[in-house]
Symmetry: C2
């Protein structure tokens, strides 16, 4: 094209490069790094794009899409989102007993006299606790470790709420501790560590079952899961 205002030179790729930080972007899409983005966007737009990119699973393209979406939304809606963010950090604390997230300390579950104090379910994170609560199956109490053992990341027992767990066991009469850490390498390591630590205290220590997920397909299950499912087989009643 040789029209007015259109340069005829070959395209200068300049600061553009295959610098995609986002796995979900189509391969080969050239994504501008932040400092390049800054040059073209008005500063408040660039700042929000940068802030959104710090969130997990959100890369430059998604951050840009969200920002331009928000630009088109009513101010009140965006203000509500901003206010929700501020309040999250202002109002939420960890329960001093179980380390679940809560507005009131101790949390709703620790305060509930209906919950069985003899069963204690140990999880990695507050959202694991919530996943278990959603089943409605467990009526005992919880202990949130706020992490899992990961020597490679330098996370040892002293970084988890293990000492607080031992303190709770001294105070309360607990008959069973259910280790509900994730079925991952870190979660397994944490469960094994806790089992060794807790069994000498004379408490029953159990681990949640590994097996085929409901609705899953035997044919497509991995070998480890299938082995665990065989190992954990139970008598039909």
């Amino acid at each position: 094209m040789g029209g007015p205002g259109v340069q005829g030179e070959p395209k200068d790729s300049g600061g553009l490069g295959p610098a995609s930080h986002e796995a979900s972007e189509p391969k080969g899409a050239a994504v501008a790094p932040p400092q390049f983005v800054m040059a073209y966007y008005p500063e408040p737009v660039a700042r929000l794009i940068e802030a959104l990119q710090r969130l997990p699973g959100i890369g430059p393209k998604t951050a840009q899409r969200l920002t331009f979406f928000l630009l088109k939304r009513p101010t009140a809606e965006v203000a509500t989102l901003a206010e929700s963010l501020v309040q999250l950090k202002q109002l939420i604390v960890h329960c001093s007993v179980c380390f679940n997230v809560t507005e009131e300390d101790p949390c709703r579950i620790c305060r509930d006299p209906q919950r069985d104090t003899r069963a204690l379910c140990v999880v990695e994170e507050p959202n694991d606790l919530l996943a278990l609560e959603r089943t409605g199956e467990f009526r005992g109490r919880y202990h949130v470790l706020l992490g899992a053992l990961s020597p490679l990341d330098g996370i040892g027992p002293e970084d988890l709420r293990v000492r607080e767990l031992l303190t709770r066991l001294e105070a309360d009469q607990v008959d069973e501790i259910i280790l509900a850490t994730n079925p991952s390498v870190e979660g397994e390591a944490t469960a094994i560590y806790l089992a060794k630590l807790l069994k000498p205290l004379g408490v029953r220590v159990t681990r949640i079952a590994r097996g085929l997920p409901v609705g899953g397909d035997l044919e497509y299950a991995d070998e480890v899961t299938l082995s665990k499912a065989l190992e954990g087989r139970r008598e039909m009643s």
Copy 2:
């Protein structure tokens, strides 16, 4: 399991159902609808999850993951994100000339005396303008329609900045109008509408080329793109 605190009854699926609102979630994953989420989360957590779910491409699971991620981040970082959101709406306005997003009105491009006023590139949205700016190929000015014609959604010419485009053409000496609306049904319809409207004014009206994307593969190109690529073929120099 018959341990203390663990109910033996079959799992009550209760409020849980296949109510996934998020296409990216694995199929069959039971996602709790918001009102169900509310019952288990502390209110500030539930409020942020709800607010995040209003964003495009963010469903209940992603909203939950982002919220728990933010809970673990420093307060200052979350405050920065909240402040960026507020400032986006406070500081950004549309340029009164071209309707690009800007902090100062008129925008940087409309104020730039180096830009060629004889070429005007019409785009749908501010991010389309930015995509073109990143190429560094176009030195003319822009006009942002803030949408595209879409009769099914009730979006007609009066909802776009078409009248403002005509006013600009009266004031400025424009030799060429490049229609750079998207190569979608709505974008094509908008381009055809504008071409019909603008050609009688004696201005040269062009449309950006449709063809194979650079780095693409002929074998995997769709028929329409391939037809357009053939139709738009050019003499080798």
